[in-house]
């Protein structure tokens, strides 16, 4: 089986400082990998480099494209990469305001992605938007409202709908449940898990919430100071951590 994403020796420096260093991993179709570590450990830098938001200093990011098989996305032309970002990829930002257009209606936010891949029939677009709002549990009575009138949790669910409506194969998520209260988090986790299963998505999830990765991720990468210090099966890394930093991270979680 060909990995959907194959990251090789990926490094990013900010001047003399290390963003991330020599990161290697393969993600297979249907797999969810969690990247954990404290703030400043390089998680978001790594995610940004893979998703084409940041220019890495070195390395390769091979994505298994539908048409031509594995290709290094860092060597693609800008239009090619943008096309990928609109079709096979999705990026869920921590702050929904970074992933939504706040002055466009909820339905418009979802429909816009469809139009970007060529949908033109207004009725179909609206029907799909209604379908997706329903899947993320937003009432279709709110379809014409702007996201600025939504709660934080609703905005995050709308962002997920906007991202997944085009049927992507790979989703990057940056702290998707950060900043949400716990009942909303539970709802999002339930939603994300169902979507991963039903659509066969592969996902890379950056978070510092170990409870979130335990429920969502198959595998974990633990980062510290820009480097990956430990990788493995999620429950194995959390229950039998080998590296000093992972042991500290796991033992620092407050029990509820």
């Amino acid at each position: 089986m060909t990995p959907i994403l194959d990251v090789r020796n990926l490094s990013k420096n900010y001047g003399r400082n290390i963003g991330c260093m020599d990161v290697n991993f393969s993600l297979y179709p249907g797999e969810v990998i969690g990247i954990v570590g404290e703030s400043g450990s390089g998680k978001s830098t790594l995610l940004g480099c893979m998703a084409g938001h940041l220019r890495p200093s070195a390395g390769e990011v091979l994505f298994d494209t539908r048409a031509e098989g594995p290709r290094d996305v860092l060597r693609m032309s800008e239009p090619e990469r943008r096309m990928l970002a609109r079709t096979d990829w999705a990026f869920v930002h921590q702050n929904p305001r970074d992933g939504l257009r706040m002055t466009v209606s909820a339905g418009g936010n979802v429909g816009e992605r469809l139009m970007a891949v060529g949908a033109r029939h207004y009725g179909d677009i609206r029907a799909q938007a209604v379908d997706w709002l329903g899947r993320v549990e937003i009432s279709d009575a709110r379809i014409d409202d702007r996201p600025s009138t939504f709660s934080g949790g609703m905005q995050q669910r709308l962002q997920i709908a906007r991202n997944l409506v085009t049927g992507p194969r790979l989703v990057f998520m940056d702290e998707p449940t950060g900043g949400l209260d716990v009942s909303v988090q539970a709802r999002l986790l339930d939603l994300l898990r169902a979507l991963v299963r039903d659509m066969g998505l592969s996902a890379v999830i950056v978070t510092h919430d170990l409870a979130v990765v335990r429920l969502l991720a198959d595998r974990l990468m633990v980062m510290k100071s820009g480097r990956v210090v430990e990788t493995g099966l999620t429950d194995q890394v959390l229950d039998d951590p080998q590296h000093a930093y992972t042991q500290l991270l796991v033992s620092s979680v407050l029990q509820v």
Partner: protein, 230 residues
Amino acid sequence: MTPMFDIRDVSKSFVLHNQGSAVIPVMAEASLQVAKGECVALTGESGAGKSTLMRMLYGNYLASAGSIRVGETELVGAQPREVLALRREVLGYVSQFLRVVPRVPTRDVVADPLLALGHDPQETRARAEEMLARLRIPERLWALSPTTFSGGEQQRVNIARGFVHSYPALLLDEPTASLDPVNRETVLCLIEEAKARGAAIVGIFHDAEARARVADREIDVTGFTPERAA
């Protein structure tokens, strides 16, 4: 016949990096074979290493040395992907604790292992309901999340989930604890049926009567305790 579980010379120590790098050897030279259709009970005092061994068999703890084969898979040094495939298809685990995504209905929690195998959602749901009914979870609870259930109910949801797919290998951690006599009987029948269809089972049973009834052999894990170095 090749055994379903084949454990050879397994040892395990924990290194506590943040507590003066203390090295705690917890198991040495553990060897154990379990054939298809056989149930082996792990015994020994609390702290002797029963759970540690179970967790290594599930790939939850890493072995420091030795070999652990479950079916066709060697767990020592296995890639996460191989362990996940093993857990999906071959190796079931009934733990004492229910760990689920909040808000997911009990019916779906139980159906989950079959859905992960790609079974038809309709059939899967029917099979999950059959298991729940057999374990006497009232029908009005099926659409609710088990997170608010009583301890005994959660345990039964866990058992339903562990037996919904016919795993060829099963790990059971105190499957009859906190159950009333009627449900305990149901669980013992489930274990006997699993053995009859050829499942290899490794279990921890504090319930001595239950152990005597389902286990073919007992292994005292105290025999795997490392010599205390002076």
